[in-house]
């Protein structure tokens, strides 16, 4: 009986859930239509201290403009424009569905949706997709060698970008509307790599050079009507847009979005308080936080970020070429103090691991704390001093290279104080944020220790560990050597490759391995993880329906201003 009734109950329950789900979706669609009718229109005004460079979605590698590209460009796949963790879900965008892997994960065939047009009126075809992937290499996209190097033919494209064809790696059939990818090795992160703006589908005739300040036609709900990095960017509705997936590219509420540049954080806060501006990209200045947290609490949104602030130590330069010195600094740094510098425990969380909390592969385990255990508790200065004494490096000169902004400089000053306490002759140099990230990467600049941040591109442990610490990420003498510590450990490299392969068949086992790799890296201490920041958005009182995606932050188009 029991055996008989169980399937009946299950099927009945299943039908009920399906019915509820369909009814729920219909209700949501109805709600959305009603909301759209009520709130559609108006001009939303955003601001940032500065623009973020080129409008080319295949070249720009900033969270600031990746957020904008969500509204203007589409790829075959996309991260869902949903709330919180829903933002990590990969959904079909220009493709009709997520394809099943073929040939043991070496081949993927995407079926394009019919009738989607670029903002210039042209229909999106398979040829556009093929040309777009060739263009990634032709314009030397910053991730061409890391995200897309697994496509067959990519090695030739990396060697000779100008003549890139990705022959044998990508096939497009305009008649059938299909695009087929052939990979050199199975890649568990392939979908995620297709869902970031560097894999945007652009018209086949797009020039194979950096678009700079000229917007390339896209398929998104909005088009960039004008852009002057010194003043503003204006986005208007894409006249060719019709909503095909509310998850991937939903229609937006505001008619126009104006993004102003050159307004200081202080001025932006005041302007938002006065209702002159709707949102600021940069975090509010720390001295305004108590005021905002008390008087404007309804307009503040605090959300977690998959990111961390860290201090990469150059493992090839003294004194940090000695692992004991690197460990000493890890023991000595008071993470709580740094959390305070960032705005307090509501806005940051102390960490002593590379993978952020609640991130795939993260397991709480702190080895550089007074009582080693799951969490960081307090600095262990005695142990740190003992390690420095053992290393015999006390008295050496150390220069910390920070960004010339309040938070980075404050962290630099704090680290200088800690290093001085450890017996070093330490000083801080703050250089322009525009060049600091490339400056600290180039080994020619002999940077000993710096302050940097890393925000994930997509939710995978490799996006932290493999990107920041693999041997392949270390290119001496290059401005593009994101392994800033210059740490190359072939054994850990091999383990990372194995974990990436394992994640195709057994993601859980792979994540467990990533946790061990994280600990193994921290034993060698090529960096000092400082804290995981939280995102703070301060919006004007007229902004409604604030949705925060853990992947690309605030979903701008889904908020209304009227």
């Amino acid at each position: 009986m029991t055996r008989l009734r169980k399937p009946i109950i299950a099927s009945t329950a299943g039908c009920a859930v399906l019915a509820l789900s369909l009814a729920g979706q219909a209700a949501l669609a109805q709600d959305r239509a009603a909301l759209m009718e009520e709130h559609r229109g108006g001009t939303m005004i955003l601001t940032a201290v500065s623009a973020a460079g080129t409008l080319d979605p295949m070249i720009n590698y900033t969270s600031q403009f990746w957020q904008i590209f969500q509204l203007t460009y589409d790829g075959l796949l996309k991260f869902k424009q949903g709330d919180r963790a829903e933002g990590f879900v990969i959904v079909p965008d220009l493709a009709e569905a997520l394809p099943e892997p073929e040939d043991g994960g070496l081949t993927y065939t995407f079926q394009l949706r019919d009738g989607i047009r670029f903002s210039n009126g042209d229909v999106v075809t398979a040829s556009d997709v093929v040309a777009s992937f060739q263009r990634i290499f032709k314009v030397n996209s910053p991730t061409s060698g890391s995200f897309y190097n697994n496509i067959v033919g990519a090695d030739l494209c990396i060697a000779e970008p100008a003549t890139c064809t990705l022959d044998g790696g990508i096939e497009g059939d305009d008649e059938a509307g299909t695009v087929t990818f052939h990979l050199m090795q199975p890649d568990s992160e392939f979908f995620a790599k297709l869902a970031v703006p560097h894999a945007s589908v652009l018209p086949a005739g797009t020039p194979t050079e950096d678009a700079g300040t000229e917007a390339i036609p896209g398929t998104g709900a909005y088009v960039i009507a004008s852009y002057d990095p010194n003043s503003e960017m204006v986005l208007t509705r894409n006249p060719e847009f019709t909503e095909w997936s509310v998850d991937a590219q939903p229609d937006g509420y505001p008619d126009e979005i104006v993004y102003r540049f050159g307004i200081s954080q202080e001025a932006a806060v005041t302007a938002i308080q006065n209702g002159q501006i709707d949102w600021m990209f940069d975090p509010p200045p720390t001295d305004r936080l108590p005021e905002l947290g008390t008087q404007y609490a309804d307009q503040i949104h605090v959300n977690p970020l998959a990111a961390f602030w860290y201090a990469p130590m150059n493992t090839n330069l003294a004194p940090f070429d000695d692992v004991r010195v690197r460990q000493a600094l890890n023991y000595a740094v008071d993470r709580n103090a740094l959390v305070g510098l960032f705005g307090g425990p509501v806005l940051a969380q102390p960490v002593c691991q590379i993978l952020p909390p609640d991130f795939p592969g993260h397991v709480d385990n702190c080895i550089y704390t007074q009582d080693p255990g799951p969490q960081w508790s307090a600095p262990d200065m005695e142990r740190a001093l003992a390690l420095v004494e053992e290393s015999g490096t006390a008295g050496q000169e150390v220069t910390i290279v920070a960004e010339d902004n309040a938070t980075s400089r404050a962290i630099g000053t704090y680290l200088q104080s800690v290093l001085t306490e450890l017996g070093y002759d330490a000083k801080v140099t703050a250089i322009s944020p525009n060049i600091q990230f490339t400056y600290i990467q180039n080994t020619d600049n002999n940077v000993q220790i710096s302050i940097s941040q890393w925000y994930m591109d997509y939710p995978a442990a490799s996006n932290f560990l493999n990107v920041l610490l693999s041997c392949a990420s270390f290119t001496p003498g290059s401005d593009s050597s994101v392994n800033i510590s210059g740490y190359c450990n072939e054994e850990l490299d091999a383990r990372m490759h194995a974990a990436m392969a394992l994640s195709i068949t057994d993601p859980d086992a792979a994540n467990a391995e990533w946790a061990l790799i994280d600990t193994a890296f921290m034993e060698q201490a090529p960096m000092v993880p400082l804290f995981t920041p939280k995102n703070i958005d301060f919006v004007s009182s007229r902004v409604g329906n604030f949705i925060f995606s853990n992947q690309f932050r605030w979903v701008i188009s889904q908020s209304w201003v009227q």
Binding site: E266, P285, T286, D287, R288, L289, P290, E291, L292, G293, T294, Q295, A297, I300, V302, D334, N336, A337, L338, G340, L341, G343, G344, P345, V346, L347, D404, A406, R409, A410, G412, T413, Y414, Q416, S417, V418, T420, E421, A426, K427, V428, T429, A430, I431, I536
Partner: protein, 350 residues
């Protein structure tokens, strides 16, 4: 004598009897003594000098203040520390407990020995840093003034006294320096030198050394002093007493030493307080822009920069060094006016 001259009623159409007596008395005095007598009658200048002495002495006593009064290390971050006020432990960095609990604010002025003016964003005692900062600001201003005056005197005197090709070459060099807006020149030099340091022959000045802002500030103002010095020397060279000396066959170097330099010296002395005031402002500006005094050292400019991020919650961090600069510059300017009135032969001494 000073009181007599100032309080004597003036005789219409003539000089007061007291003033005549005073002038007779002055004829027997050296110009320096006469200048001092005039200066000490200038109450504003004396008050300014007293203020300056207080500031200098207080700055010199910074280590004592930090060690025995505030009992803190003003160069070490103290983000997790606390102090005891009225028997209660108070955190130096205080997390907000209201509303959403956003932000961490350093302790404000306690008006006690410890953290008299509160803490900065690194939890350091603002009062102790203010005194240490004053040492560096005054040292840089003083040393750069000395460099500037020595160079300006050398260049101006040579150009004015020797004339001809020497004058042409030196004047054009000054023109080149003068062609750059002074702050643009200072900022450009600082950006290049502060981070890299400089090596001149066997002498190496490391990045972050105080010698760099001293040298940069000392050099950029040279044309502003050398020009008037050259003009003064040119005027002196054509004056009757110099012509007479030359007619008597006195060697040029002796004319320079005995007749020209003593007269130029008064001009230079007048410039000392004024240039110091200018140099303090310049140093503060460069340090505020992160291209002057470098951490861990402090100056009034760097403290102002520290306070920039606390303007809403702890304005005293920026205001205190700002007021220190204002007070010092005001005092130097008032003293400078007094010194000029006392020394400048074209005004009171004539």
């Amino acid at each position: 004598m000073a009181d007599t001259s100032t309080s004597s009623p003036a005789v219409p159409g003539g000089i007061a009897a007291g003033e005549r007596a005073s002038r007779r008395a002055r004829r027997g005095q050296s110009p320096w003594v006469r200048a001092w007598l005039i200066l000490r009658r200038d109450r504003a200048a004396i008050l300014a000098a007293i203020v300056l002495v207080i500031i200098v002495v207080a700055s010199l006593l910074a280590p004592l203040y930090a060690a025995h009064v505030s009992r803190t290390d003003p160069f070490r971050s103290n983000l997790s520390g606390s102090i005891t006020i009225d028997g209660q432990s108070v955190a130096i960095m205080q997390s907000s407990t209201q509303g959403l609990g956003l932000g961490v604010v350093p302790i404000g002025p306690t008006w006690r020995a410890q953290y008299l003016l509160g803490a900065d964003a690194q939890g350091r005692d603002v009062a102790a840093r203010l005194l240490y900062g004053g040492r560096n600001s005054l040292l840089i201003a003083g040393a750069s003034t000395l460099i500037c005056l020595v160079l300006a005197a050398l260049v101006g005197t040579c150009a004015g006294f020797f004339g001809g090709a020497t004058d042409m070459v030196l004047s054009r060099l000054l023109d080149v320096l003068w062609a750059f807006p002074v702050y643009l020149l200072a900022i450009s030099l600082s950006i290049v030198l502060i981070s890299q340091g400089i090596t001149i022959g066997p002498v190496e000045i490391k990045s972050g050394s105080l010698l760099l802002p001293i040298g940069i500030i000392g050099i950029i103002y040279v044309p502003y002093i050398a020009r008037p010095v050259r003009g003064r020397v040119l005027a002196l060279r054509g004056s009757e007493f110099v012509l007479a000396a030359r007619g008597l066959g006195i060697p040029r170097w002796r004319i320079l030493r005995k007749d020209i330099l003593p007269n130029v010296a008064t001009t230079l002395i007048v410039y000392i307080p004024l240039m110091m005031a200018l140099n303090i402002v310049t140093e503060s500006a460069l340090s505020f822009l992160s291209i002057g005094v470098q951490a861990p050292d402090a100056s009034w400019g760097t403290i102002m920069q520290d306070g920039q991020t606390l303007l809403y919650t702890r304005p005293v961090v920026a205001l205190a060094p700002g007021l220190a600069v204002v007070a010092t510059v005001l005092a130097l300017n008032v003293l400078g006016d007094g010194v000029r009135d006392a020394l400048d032969p074209r005004t009171k001494l004539r």
